[in-house]
């Protein structure tokens, strides 16, 4: 079995996708939509950050490089 590796291309592709969603580059500067009492773009950004946190925690707990377990 190949050991896990944090340099795998798919890990950083997921991060690029999540960053693309979280950083509010694609919103119209006049967008006034609200959800949960917050601006919609801010809610999307915070949930994007939550997704990054969950993915990162999963990588640390479940995909720690096997040969990196002194």
């Amino acid at each position: 079995k190949r050991p896990h590796n944090y340099l795998s291309w798919w890990i950083w592709a997921v991060y690029a996708l999540l960053a693309g969603i979280s950083i509010p580059w694609y919103w119209s500067a006049e967008d006034t939509r609200m959800v949960l009492g917050f601006p919609l773009w801010a809610v999307v950004s915070v949930f994007g950050s939550l997704a990054v946190s969950c993915f990162t925690a999963w990588l640390f707990v479940c995909r720690w490089p096997d040969d990196e377990e002194e």
């Binding site: 944090y6 950050s49 990162t56 640390f60 720690w64």
Partner: protein, 507 residues
Amino acid sequence: MIAAATETNVIPFGAGALAFIGLYLLSMIGIGWLGMRAKEENSLRDHFIGGSGVGFFVLVLTLFATQYSGNTILGFSGKAYRIGFGWLTCVHFMTAIVVTYLLFAPKLFKLAKKHAFITPTDYLAHRFNHRGLNLLATLIMVASLMNFYLAQLTAMGRAVEGLTTLDPETAFLWGVVVLAGIMLVYENMGGFRAVAWTDMIQGGVLALGFLVLLVLIFKEYGSMEQTTRTLMQIAPEKVLPPKAPEVRSWISYILLLGVGAALYPQAIQRIYAARSARTLRKSLAVMAFMPLCTALIAVLVGVTAAAHLAGELQGASSDAVLGVMLRHIQEQSTFGYALVVIIFAAILGAIMSTADSTLLSMSSMVTKDLYMGFVRPDASQASLTSLGKWISTLFVIVLAALAVWLNNSGTKLTLVELLEMKFDMLLQLAPAFMIAIHWQRMRAGPVFAGMLCGLVFALLFFWVPAKGDGFLTLLKNSGFHPGIYGLLLNIIICVTGSWIVNLRSKT
């Protein structure tokens, strides 16, 4: 972390509240004594890393308390007061710090356990065996931490300023002297153990403070929907999505702080101090969620203040926005007063836990990397440990005097600029830690040249005029921090230089 001005505007505390804060501070010295009793041997490793390492509960709280300083509460809420929801970028860059650990923490931890590393430079010495690189990297880290420590001392003085009826300059002086003195005593008594164990209490109080803060802002100022609608009417630019220049600023902050803060020497030493890989990976997994429990709350506080206290504060003094809100709450009831005391204890804990880790890290690098590395390689462990304590004392005396002098002379601008430069400097260590740990053919010479050129290029921007049509002025006004450009140059030199050296050695 971002701004240095952190004055509080709460009503001066009564005898009961001051006694509570006093007991809280004295308990730190008690923990220092316990740390001294737990000492296994009189060695550098025991004093600076805590011997065989710390377990999950201590590691996660010391990582949290070290990473989140007083300015996470005060500076972040002040910045959100100024720019609104656009400061949500702080949630992302605090998360990016933990993501960056994926690039080097597993391998670095393994090497640190195998070769008993104490300082970040130990890794560089092991990997490159290049004295010039060791010296340059150590000087970058010590210089960065000196101005970070100076900012924490300033935050201590400002936090105490509003609490007593003394005149501000006297209160600032006593705040710095008493708090830095307590910190020095427990640190010199118990070393890393005392710092990590006090971090545990300070981290716990900090987490409680954020929770209390979240409850208070909803109770005091109503729902977030009401806040957002009010803000939309009085300052729509604080609610609407950021425009292109602000988006560039988001990306720059995420890169600069995500990579730069992951290279904090005291953070790297906490990787070394983990008892096992399991302890480290569980702690980092928990740390991934901390920005949502802390930085996000600070943004909500700032946005709420922007809606309900609009126009009360201007410019740098807006970092005191939390103090103004606490004063409003303090005036309401005895219960509100008690909660403000808890939040103030959390702020003090956040400042002290960051400052003590910074001080221990600076002392370890000067003792081991500079004195032992260049002056007396054969010095005994006991004499080096003793020297480390004297160096800590010297740092406290010199930097506390500088903090008081800067405060009395009103020189705040330079301090803020220095703080911004700290990450521009630390960022230049990234190739040596993050690329070289994976690419064994990366050579010492090009890494040294890249680090030096990147550093000079980043610092050069400090003197580049903000107006004009020169190339460097264009870069300076692009929305990206100078350190990012320095890092690009650094990587180009490291990689192409190593490639050329490898090609030559083949032929």
